[in-house]
Symmetry: D2
Subunit: 432 residues, 4 copies
């Protein structure tokens, strides 16, 4: 028996609010993932999760202490021990599959992590007023990932209910740690889950589509890379023997200036930022250590490649100038998009049939990184097609704000759009 559309609308809201109230950091989504497993298994999907669903070693930065703390947090709140064991080390991805005879493979990707924000508790903030605001202090679903997951569950339920009409395979990728591009996408890709995908559909609520009913078929993101560089100098008493010191603070300072002075490239606009610099401990001692965190966002992969190379030269050279050691570590990365025009056209056709859709744009550029591009690129590299679509929603406040809230009415539009696309792509007899 299939879920009726009316029922699904209520379920979407219920899923969303349950998840909204329990936000978890990237690679710490233990309770979140466990809930997803429950629902997906209930829909009849074959579900894998934990280290079967992702390779934590392929991530860029897994914050180990935080992961351990949230692992205990989930245990205390009743997440089954067996589930937690398989997710230990931050393996919080969930992959669900439904095979419906022969035909192409359609995959969906939804992100599941939250942000380090204390949610507003003002009565004007609906989650607070209606009692489903975050119960995890200091963390909040302020980027709509709770809505993404609800859409994902809705699509899964919808497609399971009409599986007889489908020819091919449906796969759902629930991905941890999208924020910061820490490597959740890469960790799933490392298990091969997108290598055989013919069509990959990704989505986001809001962003450049700020009204409910507005759909953007295809959205480009900027490529991004994030690095942490450390300089290891030598402390010395600055009056007794300043000549014995090797100054890591000045190395970091000079590196910051040189990084910001990297020449522009005609291959596309970019912004590079050394966002954090910490060095030294006291006035009387040559600073022996320094750390900088930097990121860059580029319009093109060529510009990203150019900056990667220049950044390494600057760090290495600066260390040499000041006679200090150095280490440079990639802590986040996503390429720019190469999206499928074909899939965008499919989405446009589907959207055009939906009464709730009031505006359709072909394209938008989003001035941010998004590691769905890791997966889209990998699909394309293997001959498949991927696309990133925006499901419009009126917003109470901007993304990443403590007062962020979207219109839950957008959820069913997202389900109808994505499920509709899958049905078109997997229609029996539709040999691509």
């Amino acid at each position: 028996m299939t879920t009726s559309l009316g029922d699904l609308g209520a379920a979407l809201v219920q899923w969303r609010r349950d998840l909204h109230a329990r936000p978890e950091p990237g690679f710490c989504e233990f309770r979140t993932a466990s809930s997803l497993v429950d629902e997906l298994e209930r829909f009849g999907y074959e579900v894998v999760y934990g280290v079967d669903a992702m390779d934590p070693g392929a991530a860029h930065l897994v914050p180990e202490e935080r992961v351990a703390a949230w692992h205990r947090h989930a245990q205390e709140r009743g997440v089954p021990a067996e589930r937690l064991e398989r997710m230990s080390g931050g393996a919080t991805a969930v992959v669900a599959e439904l095979r419906c005879g022969s035909g192409p493979t359609v995959a969906f990707r939804f992100d599941i992590d939250a942000l380090p924000l204390q949610e507003a508790d003002e009565s004007s903030h609906k989650p607070a007023r209606e009692g489903y605001a975050s119960r995890n202090p200091g963390w909040m679903h302020a980027c709509g990932h709770d809505g993404h997951m609800a859409i994902g569950l809705g699509v899964a339920a919808t497609l399971a209910a009409c599986s007889d009409d489908l020819g091919g395979t449906v796969r759902f990728l629930f991905q941890p740690a999208e924020e910061g591009a820490l490597g959740g996408a890469a960790a799933i890709a490392a298990r091969g889950f997108v290598d055989d995908v013919d069509y990959l559909l990704c989505c986001h609520l809001g962003l450049e589509a700020r009204e409910t009913g507005h759909v953007v078929c295809r959205t480009d993101f900027m490529a991004t890379s994030k690095y942490r560089a450390t300089f290891a100098g030598r402390g010395a008493h600055v009056v007794n023997s300043p000549q014995d010191g090797r100054n890591a603070l000045l190395a970091a300072a000079a590196a910051a200036l040189a990084l910001h002075a990297i020449a522009p490239t005609s291959e596309g606009w970019f912004s590079l930022n050394v966002g954090v610099l910490n060095a030294g401990t006291e006035q009387g001692v040559t600073p022996a250590s320094a750390t900088i965190d930097l990121g860059f966002w580029t319009e093109t992969s060529a510009a990203q490649e150019y900056l990667r190379d220049r950044v390494h030269s600057v760090i290495e050279g600066t260390a040499r100038v000041w006679g200090v050691g150095f280490d440079i570590r990639l802590i986040g990365e996503a390429p720019s998009c190469m999206q499928s025009e074909n899939l965008a056209a499919v989405l446009r056709r589907v959207a055009a049939r939906l009464p709730a859709v009031t505006r359709i744009d072909d394209y938008a550029l989003c001035r941010a990184g998004e590691d769905a591009t890791v997966l889209i690129k990998r699909v394309a590299d293997h001959g498949g097609q991927g696309v990133y679509t925006l499901v419009g929603s009126a917003l109470a406040d901007g993304h990443h704000s403590p007062r962020f809230d979207f219109d839950e009415g957008a959820l069913s539009i997202g389900v109808d759009l994505l499920a509709g696309a899958a049905r078109e792509l997997l229609r029996v007899g539709n040999g691509e």
Copy 2:
């Protein structure tokens, strides 16, 4: 009835060990000061302490939160409430006076604060082996101030015992917060306690006099100034609107480089160090704030003056370059010395008569700052004379080491030297 020399030797050790076991940070020496008050009153001195002995507002940097915590710490350990009340806000100086008829005023200054070090607990470390190591975790008398206080009490006891032979006034200044030159000396000076002083005698154990029996009559220190500069920029999303950001991190980085590139001066060697730089919070946002801590040590006051001026230009100018606001605050300062040749000669004569003294040097340069110079300079500015002498001691390890320890045999040499000088300066009929 006078204390016999034998008795005093034992008392010196007892005082020293009692104080050594209870080290307290600068402006937090509540229990220390209370003990000193007890002893000095017992010897018959007129004692003032707390806000009567110093003006906390004249200090450069009083660490308020720490002061409050140690205030509670002292309360819990039984320092009388009345004492603590008068010392609230970090007014931990003690001034004791004995008037012995007409004649000049001789003052002594001893420093009383400890260092942020965890004392060694190895059996090879005598204080640990014999049970008088620090009971305050993370803090240690590793610069001999416990010994200085013991010498001070010994001199006070000695002079009280022979007060009939003296013509003039004896005054003891027990000064908080010598380490870091936070302004303990300036705070005492602000109450006028050195303005009428004819002779000021200051001392240190060890330093350039590393054998017991070695005395250096006159010791120069380097002038020093310490500043904290903050830059206040404006955060901006570095992809959406980098042009709206004003980068405090780059301001601080450029300032650090420019400060280290200040031209040398033929007026004397100096070392300037930006010891700490902290800026920014995350990669995606223009760093909106930055702080640097810097200090410089100069051979001459002319060089100190030169650097003060240049440092201000660099901070102001750099803020202008990057369009950020700035604040610069003096957090520590001591001038270089202008010591009395006459007092040094007195000390030499006294030392020459002491059997335990095996080596006398006229002069040493100590490559560090020491805010006794604030008091010596003020005495000289008012027509008096001041001198800084070194009382030699064999050392178990260098100053500011967790294994620092001096030879307690040096304490009585210090007492004999300083008390002897006072007796010579205040000999009845010695009108000088």
Copy 3:
């Protein structure tokens, strides 16, 4: 009697070669201007030139010594004294006008200056082979301005020949010193010659249109500003009294780094370059003076405005850091374009009728500055319309190369295009 097309073709080549052989630097185009005056008067135009045609004081940088030298050079080569006198001080603009009854005013702008290049004398270089290469060593028409002037004369001749068919006014602006954006356009604008213009047509040979027969109707250029900043410090013997020095070299060095580290803006791509830095005279003396030449090129005027502001902050602030004086002077500037879609459409229609035109593009972006934009912007500010069009030409080598040469066959296309547009705009009864 009108000039037949065949005759005009020969004249175009003759004019071009005569001018090509006598290249002159910006604001030094004495002989060039004099030749233009001769021809334009011959066609029946009312001609003004020298200080009547431009205000040298409104230019950004008039190279006085060079102007004086080329003034003598022109005198020696027979340019009439009366002409030279009116052009003294570098006033080498020529403005010609033909009034043909009532109607709108159509203006044309052509640039007339050459480049500091030694022209190739290889036989493969046609001007060398055929004997019309530059006779002025070290200078060359390597950007096609000789061709522009020939087109201008051709248009002037053509329109004079059909003046009876025109209703309105035709004006020709022959502008000095386009290269470097030294201010030739601003100097002409300062005399009011574009304030009453309804339609302004500008053109360039080649650039993004590299085949003969290719026309680009509308071309955007980048906004550009160029500055010279000087720092005035104080020399001092670096061993005897380094503290008395104020280091202009370090000021310039720090400024260069800070300028290159100006944050990007989401208002458009830009490139800023400190192209020249010269400072100091000898190792033993604090460098007392330094000069930097910098330029920036921006996609938008908003970005240009942003950089202007930031550049001034950097220079002022850096001077303060190092205790030196500073001066900053604008030496070149051009805004970005706001071109007329209407005029582009007129050009497209005319081009479509020309048999020699084989390709028409609506738009191109040229990654360079061009101070015709000063005039186009002023026309637009006064309610008129302006456009910049590219007349395609096969090229022997790129612009600004010693082997640059264009196809003289492009000249008549340029004439037909521009004269055709003017005829359409001034057709009697065309009130538009």
Copy 4:
């Protein structure tokens, strides 16, 4: 027959004025050297000069074009072709020797080059008033080397006249290119002329001894090193392809800042100065080349060694940061002194016997470099002794001023002092 003292006084003035009128740059002292050869041969010395007296390849910087020009200059002024041939390539040293039986070897070193200054021609300037001012425009003996040579000839004449009283060898080293420490001393040392020297006596007029009659027995100089660093980047059109540029200007700018920020050393005061920076050619092109000239002066050889190492790190590292090539070349060097107390004592004894000497100081520190130290150090390294003495003179204006002039009365004091010392050191039977 010996020259009487009266005669020598006149000769000293004559030699000095002849040389003063014909100043020549370092390694260009062709006429100067030829005159010295004439005189020394006349006194009976065995004289070698040119490539026999020095190895130009051991010099740091021989300015080849200048040398060629002055070679022609000397030829035109009648210096014999044979002499010039042996001095070609800048080999302008002269070494003269007199063997007087067995005994130690005493050597003297005098510098012979002039400075790039236009001598004052005011009547208040005695050389101008009395007609012996420089005849070589732009060059001047403004550091007293003309006087040094006169003293040298005077000592040579004096010792030749009393050779019967001497037991040992007397050697005179007339050294080119002292100014700038270009390597004149090293070039003479490379021929072995100081390896067997027992006593080396060097002198200077004036400096810290500014009254005639004042003698300083022993003078320390600062060690110095001078480098030229070049950076080779890659030019690129900064709008079309800024990413292809490699910016030599920013490399040089960052290097200059980093060089000035080298930490101080407790091994002695120093001053480092980047005196010259030239980079780039135009605003629109990434600067492809840059040059910096730097020097440092240190109180100790340890500090010199420390800076050498740090300077190389900075240059290498900075080149790496900016992706440019680099070259670093030593263009001048002199160590600090290790002088003989014994020789200073000899000079003191001799000076004490001279009626014209009115003040004797044991020691002075001269805040400058002086490459006599190269020779003194080499003598000491081979077991001999060296000393640098100051012969006081009233001065019309400071050294290196266009109005510099010394008191010719100081010349005979110099002769008496040095010749007297040699006689004491070579007294027959004085085996020391």
